[in-house]
Symmetry: C2
Subunit: 334 residues, 2 copies
């Protein structure tokens, strides 16, 4: 166990026959795990964003179907309930289908869910190994949103190189962008990195260009929700802006993600429909509504063109341009 | 009087011998003017951002020195107190020096401050005339922070072309960036434009790149706190990022400012010390502290290199590159 393992709580825990989910909506004020009674409470935790991040959602749903199998529930209905909780989450359906295939036997179901969880930890560790050499003593890395332990398991994706470098004694700093509108950077990333003893500084998204101009940023590592066949990156709103700024200032821009994030069936980023979330997220703050009746645009993701990506940090190693060939080769040699 | 005149309150008012400053921190919920007792309360109002925007700060400081003259205070000390309230604001020092030169006579001081105020209104109108043709039917203009009536007087600077085009019946839209950390866009710009009947949409700063990539932005108009001799623009944090994005997407980027904002004595943006404000602005929200003990960077301004500016919209007309020659010519023919 590395030090990071013990310091950052996992978002989903199966222990002594009980499934526990960390309610991330309460962070950083309260670290509260909720015991899950049945598949319906797991679906509600996913729907209500208590658990977030594609891999963590998949793991939670896998264990949710285990509960259904153990309690003798209708497995088809249980699988449908879980899938409906976040219909756009590809990992969720994938994890549920994988457990469903063996769920006639509850022990096999648990074994499969635990395999998914263990594979995810191993993938994060491989991403960390592929990227940790990018962090050198004195370096400052900027990250966006939360592609950390809280979104995945154990080491996270964008954070995995940071946790491994920190464990190896490398002295680097992290600048975490607050990531409006939902503030995953300010609420989650700074909390988990600080808890692990990593030197982290918070900044507004709008300050990123200035910090780069000052020479305060040596590299950028972000996560990805989806990578299309040509290497375009769909990720949290603001990611593409960082990539354009990084190119302008000559700063390397890395995308850390499991190879399962590569989507060979979607040619390029323009083919991905970007979720537009409620304008209330932009207009409202806890305790303050800033522009009650004003229309607000709130695209949740953006597309970073592949030509702005220096390399992908993956569980299959560091992938460098040209990405189309690299990703195709990756798919041909599973 | 145009419709805009009657709808948007002025930030600084001298009436019946009393200086009143609108506390913009309370907008949009409360429209409250505060009577100023002396030069120290004016300096505090500037320091605490009750009044903000370079021209409005200059006007407030000019009247602040009038109070000092009327109350028989040490004028050198009063001028120093005012100048120290916001060291980046070049207009502040300029306005204070102008009143200081005649302040031995309190009536002359008041006359000079009122001249500065009246000139400022005329300048805004001239900026509007220079820039209103840039707004055509169907256009969408993005703006940042608040370089509006609230920051200046009457028509504002970046907003002056918008108010005049709106009065002329041009149908355009505005996207206002919320402008973290102090949310001048979300609290002030959308409020004053909406009050004037202009179609305005709010967006997070991090969404600007995505909106440009979608083709949702036709041009950008921002204000400036200071323009150096070579045309570099010192303005609210996030401005330079917009300029870099605009260049990337081939969108024109305009800076609207009075010619007094040009500072011929400072060669370039790198010579300007950027104010670093308290990290509390980044960490704290009304009702929520997101990262209590985490360090936070909070540069208040950034530098937009002159080569990213399409043109300056000024009271002396539209100034196009090369700026060094244009600005020198401007200074030689006052």
């Amino acid at each position: 166990m590395t030090s990071a393992d013990t310091r950052v709580p996992e978002p989903v825990v199966w222990a002594h026959g009980t499934l526990r989910i960390l309610d991330q909506r309460l962070l950083p004020d309260t670290v509260a795990y909720e015991d899950q009674a049945d598949v319906r409470s797991v679906a509600a935790a996913i729907r209500d964003l208590k658990v977030r991040g594609a891999p963590a959602i998949g793991i939670a749903a896998a264990y949710g179907l285990v509960l259904a199998a153990q309690q003798g529930e209708d497995l088809e209905a249980a699988a449908a309930t879980l899938k409906a909780a976040r219909p756009t989450a590809v990992n969720l359906a994938w994890a549920v289908d994988r457990v469903r295939a063996v769920a006639a036997d509850p022990d096999a179901a648990l074994n499969e869910a635990q395999s998914i969880h263990a594979e995810d930890r191993a993938i994060c560790r491989a991403i960390g190994s592929a990227g940790r050499h990018l962090l050198r003593d004195g370096a400052t890395v900027m990250t966006h949103c939360n592609a950390g332990a809280l979104a995945v398991s154990e080491l996270g994706t964008a954070t995995a190189p940071m946790y491994l470098a920190h464990d190896a004694g490398v002295e680097f700093r992290v600048i975490a962008n607050e990531t409006r509108p939902v503030l995953q950077g300010a609420r989650l990333t700074v909390w988990e990195l600080d808890r692990a003893g990593i030197d982290v500084t918070l900044a507004c998204d709008s300050a990123a260009g200035r910090l780069m101009a000052e020479g305060a940023v040596d590299l950028i590592i972000v996560g990805a929700d989806r990578v299309t066949a040509n290497g375009d990156v769909v990720n949290k709103i603001g990611t593409a802006t960082l990539a354009i700024l990084a190119r302008h200032f000559g700063i390397p821009f890395y995308v850390a993600c499991p190879s399962s994030t590569f989507d060979p069936d979607t040619p390029c980023g323009a083919d991905v429909e970007i979720e537009e979330r409620s304008g209330d997220e932009v207009r409202q703050w806890p305790g303050l509504e800033v522009a009650a009746h004003i229309p607000a645009r709130n695209p949740a993701f953006d597309v970073t063109p592949h030509e702005l990506v220096s390399a992908f940090i993956t569980d299959r190693g560091l992938l460098e341009p040209p990405f189309q060939q690299t990703l195709t080769a990756l798919r041909r040699t599973p």
